[in-house]
């Protein structure tokens, strides 16, 4: 089966459909995908757009050579061991080039400021890959803090103490009631000015505080879905509240919150694209820059979308694995 449902409901799909039927439907699914693909392709043919996928590659892996230019007038000496020395006329310390794959000057040549001396072949990360890395960095760090914030807010929300309960309620309502984009601006321009935050810290703060509010509600509903008898049993054994929470309630709640948590963490990855508005070069901003440089608009955005999809599907796959591992006690 192409996409096998993880939990087949015992009463569905047993009587009516046998295996043969399933194959037919799966084949139909593939066929439909092909038709849609073809439709998209032929539609794009009509709009007079030249697809140039090869233009994208340099922005993923940059293989342009690293070049060395003369900063001043001077004279080149090629040494016996292959290194190059440039003595400058104005008395600047001599420039020593240790490795060169291509040489653009000859031994003893006089050069002027700005002349290209040599270059080294190299492969470095392109703008898109660097943006992808930034997105991963933003997401992972924000994810870590969002879970901590969410857990604390959830525990405060179900606490008996009105002080912590009200604070948590206020936090969740304010954060969920305002757009993330506005929050990013407020954190960056207002808090950023007061506390002197750099843009990366501001971005992380906005993302984790935002996602934390949603995670708090997910964890709270997870905790409240555990039958009260569990807490009673734990307390009747002499455990105090924190111990009972840590070893009895939260492990069970964690398992139940995994599916909605996966959705929220995927949202976090996608929401991280919004921090590009405060000039963090994440995947989306990198995409915008590449479009400006290459004019390969369609290719760039398809590539960016595919890279996001790689991130989100990896995460969702990982969480499915955890879910499966935890289901052994069911």
């Amino acid at each position: 089966m192409l996409f096998a449902p993880r939990y087949l409901h015992p009463y569905l799909g047993i009587k009516m459909q046998n295996k043969k039927h399933n194959v037919v439907w799966q084949a139909l699914f593939v066929l439909t995908l092909i038709i849609i693909g073809f439709a998209v392709y032929s539609a794009s043919q009509k709009i007079d757009y030249t697809w140039q996928w090869n233009r994208i590659l340099p922005y993923i892996i940059d293989s342009s050579p690293a070049e060395t230019f003369a900063e001043n007038d001077g004279q080149v000496t090629i040494n016996e061991n292959g290194t190059i020395t440039v003595d400058f006329d104005n008395g600047d310390p001599a420039l020593l080039i240790k490795k060169a794959d291509h040489l653009f000057v000859s031994d003893g040549a006089f050069i002027f400021a700005g002349d290209k001396i040599s270059s080294v072949n190299q492969k470095s990360m392109g703008v898109l890959l660097e943006g992808l890395l930034m997105t991963i960095k933003l997401s992972v760090i924000s994810l870590f803090f969002a879970i901590i914030i969410g857990l604390i807010a959830a525990l405060m929300r179900i606490s008996q103490n009105p002080l912590s309960r009200n604070f948590s309620f206020l936090y969740i309502e304010i954060i969920r009631g305002t757009p993330l984009l506005v929050q990013i601006f407020i954190v960056y321009f207002f808090l950023g000015t007061i506390f002197d935050l750099d843009r990366f810290t501001a971005g992380i703060t906005a993302l984790s505080v935002f996602t934390g509010a949603y995670i708090a509600e997910i964890i709270r509903s997870g905790i409240q879905s555990i039958p009260p008898g569990q807490m009673e049993a734990a307390r009747s054994l002499g455990m105090n509240y924190p111990t009972a929470m840590t070893y009895v309630i939260l492990p069970q709640a964690f398992k139940r919150t995994l599916p909605p948590m996966a959705g929220q963490l995927i949202n976090l990855i996608k929401d991280s694209s919004l921090v590009s508005v405060i000039s963090i070069t994440d995947l989306t901003k990198a995409g915008r820059e590449v479009v400006a440089g290459s004019f390969a608009t369609f290719e760039v955005w398809f590539t960016v979308a595919a890279l996001y999809l790689v991130l989100t599907s990896t995460l969702s796959f990982a969480i499915q694995r955890i879910e499966k591992r935890l289901s052994n006690s069911d």
């Binding site: 008898g229 009673e232 009747s236 455990m239 070893y247 069911d330």
Partner: protein, 251 residues
């Protein structure tokens, strides 16, 4: 006063306990019960009579509105009393078992001794296996609760409570959620516990168990304790008209 200092005869003293819920439901009306060390006391009564509520006040799963509760010489509502320390000494078995579903049977039994008493893992594990063998589940130590029958789960729950080495055991309708054929195995474990001299307070509908094992049987109705008698007299010569009516309706 700590638990070790107390050598008194009374394990449980509940003195005119009143419980009024937030919705003004008057669940317990001036209930006074004394349970002596080693005694087995069974509480019966129609549903809604407050018998489970009373049992739950004995380890403060319910707080009382008025009255006094003294467990093993420790005043429950004294400001210096740590309720967690008090509960370590009071095991409880629930109608719905309340095993921890994410932990194996063995770990269910081990959790509290490890985290509350902070005993060594080897010691706790050995004790857990001993207890599980005693309740007839020595073969099942590594399975999860969901793989056990109701009767087996309830026996694990008893072993889990015993792992804290309590001086008092509370049973809240331990057989009410079980299929009839599994009631016997749980009552058997409770009986052996009683024979070993454990102090027990049991809320149940098992009249046979009450008749055979109990030292005293209490009858509650409408939040009031109406009868407190030895089983022989309780069943054969009921002293209260309401009890007479109740017994005739169930037998």
């Amino acid at each position: 006063m700590t638990r070790a200092d107390y050598k008194g005869e009374e394990m449980v003293i509940a003195n005119s306990v009143d419980k009024i819920y937030a919705n003004n439901c008057h669940a317990l009306k001036k209930v006074s019960v004394t349970v002596k060390r080693g005694e087995v006391v069974v509480i019966i009564g129609p549903s809604g009579s407050g018998k489970s509520t009373f049992l739950r006040t004995l380890n403060q799963l319910e707080t009382v509105t008025e009255g006094e509760v003294i467990i093993d010489g420790i005043k429950m509502y004294d400001p210096s009393t740590n309720i967690n320390t008090l509960r370590e000494n009071v095991g409880m078995v629930f109608q719905s078992f309340n095993l921890f579903p994410h932990l194996s049977v063995k770990k269910n039994v081990m959790l509290a001794p490890l985290k509350v008493l902070k005993l060594s893992k080897a010691q706790v594990e050995e004790e857990a296996i001993k207890l599980l063998t005693r309740v007839g589940l020595g073969e099942k130590i590594n399975v999860f609760p969901s793989q056990l029958s109701g009767g087996q789960q309830q026996r694990v729950a008893i072993a889990r409570a015993l792992a804290m080495k309590p001086d008092l055991m509370l049973f809240d309708e331990p057989t009410s959620a079980l299929d009839p054929e599994m009631v016997g195995e749980v009552l058997e474990v409770m009986k052996s516990l009683a024979e070993e001299g454990m102090t027990m307070v049991v809320v149940t509908h098992e009249m046979g168990f009450a008749n055979e094992v109990a030292d005293r049987v209490l009858f509650m109705e409408d939040g009031q304790l109406l009868v407190d008698d030895v089983p022989d007299k309780f069943f054969k010569n009921p002293s209260h008209p309401r009890l007479k009516k109740f017994l005739s309706s169930i037998l």
